[in-house]
Amino acid sequence: MNFDFTDDQQAIKRTAKDLLAQRFKPDVVRELVEAGRYEDSHFAELAELGWAGIFLDEDQGGQGLGTVELAILMEELGYSLAPVPFLSNAAAGLVLQHAGSDEQRSRWLPGIASGQARGTAGLARDGEGALVADADSAAVIVLLGDGGGTVYEASACEIDPVETIDATRRYARVRPAGDGEALASDPAPALDRIATALAAELTGICQRTMEMSVSYARDRKQFDRPIGAYQAVSHRCADMLREVESARSTTLWAAWAAEAEPETLPLAAAMAKALASDAGWNVTSSALQVHGGVGFTWEHDLHFFFKRAKVDGALFGSAREHRERVAELSGLGAAL
């Protein structure tokens, strides 16, 4: 059995890594984060290259690729900590693609694929979305809950920006002020794919912070030896690798299952999101420990990764919620 990416997938990954490294150098990310904004040209370029509609059908303006390719992009977006409204737009696209009516799909998906009329999706309680990414710049907002969802034009919602610890992404509270349209079917298949995409982003964040830690542990010397030579540091780095690889393997399994074995997707996606959310917390907080005092200063970039990992871990279900789902799907009961 061949677990490698195909040549095309490798080319997509390499292109994404090169482009994002060029566009999101640490000083650029810091400038955008401190200003609390995105640079419109960044998302426009990604959309121009076809990224925004990577998983959408070609007749909807997409690229006709799948969840594995989406996961490849998401991992690299996490690795580069790109401040772009990609995840939110992809989430809306996934929900409308899998649960929207024909009319909803034809109305909104071309704009999502081209990036001209972005969307977003978020979980709602009592009809209100408490934390919806990029709602303030979206054209269409999908609020999800209780096995269904409602599609709103952004102009039919009250949108109040919400500050979170993760300043690399913009969030808002969304209160519908007008009528929306119900989705045509259960959005669960879309939620599984969104969880998988988030797990991929968390994997990228973990990979980057692990690399930063290993590099620091090689260079930084204490008592005339690199700190990586001390077991207290090297064991942490080894644990980071174990967590990164576990998160990546499970995420790619879920991404593969989305098209190849859809009946396995709910379990795989829940496992991936649970593992990656835990890894996001464990790896980035270990990275802070390896970096010592400099790691938690504002001037060091590490805290930006740490904070996005923390918020990503909570978006679309926490690790605990996804573990409970794994238990339920495995026949072990809803809450252990």
């Binding site: 040549d7 080319a11 997509i12 990577i54 690229q63 390719e69």
Partner: protein, 264 residues
């Protein structure tokens, strides 16, 4: 007009460069990529094609390399080349710069391009001379380190970077132009272009197909041979001049430079 772009598969920039002591060649195992300097040559070709000043019928990417080098050609066509040619043959292994230039020129002879473009250097061998060697075989004029290129009917007006500034040179076509990395910012391939790369024509040729004489290529056909490889001598410790009195410090620096005849 037909443009041929010479490209090369090289070890990825993230891979540490190593010498294989047994073969005395660069160890090219591990992750590989299209030579980043060649992406500037492809971009230059695309800008000529899209510029509309002359009618470009096609842009052809050409490489010589092992079987794996087709990936560099896929990248080249995803960046805009219309088709590609892969010269690959066991007999070519170990070719030095001159032998490689001869082999590439034989492929180019068949193509009869109006313009040959290539990057200023490869990221592995860094010989910098491939453009000149190919031009010599093709009997075409050649320029190196070109950082601006305006095409007119039958000729190019180029700016080339020199140690003392910039030369502005007019050159008749056909010509071989080695471009510097300051000439442009290469584009990134779209997903559609990446996925479509495999569908573009790729011709694989051996030395017999291209009329290449076997005794002029490969390790045996190369005129140079590497006898030994040694690390560069360790740098000597520098001399630190404390700036206690600036006039005195300047005097010491000037004396130091004069002793080494570094002042004109």
């Amino acid at each position: 007009m037909k443009i041929c772009v010479l490209v090369k598969e090289v070890p990825d920039a993230a891979v540490e460069k190593r010498i294989d002591q047994s073969s005395k060649r660069i160890d090219r195992s591990g992750e590989k990529n299209l030579n980043p300097f060649d992406t500037h040559a492809i971009e230059a070709a695309m800008q000529v094609k899209e510029g509309g000043v002359v009618d470009v019928e096609e842009v052809v990417a050409v490489t010589m390399g092992p079987e794996s080098a087709f990936r560099a050609l896929h990248k080249a066509v995803s960046l805009g080349a219309d088709r590609s040619i892969h010269l690959t043959d066991d007999a070519l292994a170990g070719s030095d710069c001159c032998a490689t230039g001869y082999a590439l020129a034989k492929i180019l002879e068949e193509e009869s391009p109006d313009l040959v473009l290539l990057g200023q250097q490869s990221d592995d061998g860094e010989c910098y001379t491939m453009g000149a060697i190919v031009a010599d075989h093709l009997r075409m004029p050649s320029l190196t380190q070109v950082i601006k290129m305006d095409v007119e009917e039958g000729k190019l007006r180029c700016e080339r970077q020199a140690e003392y500034g910039y030369d502005t040179v007019e050159i008749q076509l056909p010509a071989v132009i080695s471009v510097g990395d300051a000439i442009n910012e290469p584009r990134y391939p779209s997903l559609k272009a990446i996925m479509g790369a495999k569908k573009k024509q790729l011709d694989t040729k051996g030395i017999a197909d291209a009329g290449i004489e076997a005794d002029r290529v490969g390790e045996g056909g190369s005129r140079t041979s590497v006898l030994s490889i040694n690390p560069p001598p360790a740098k000597q410790a520098g001399e630190i001049i404390e700036d206690e009195d600036t006039n005195e410090t300047v005097g010491k620096i000037v004396s130091w430079l004069e002793e080494r005849k570094l002042l004109a």
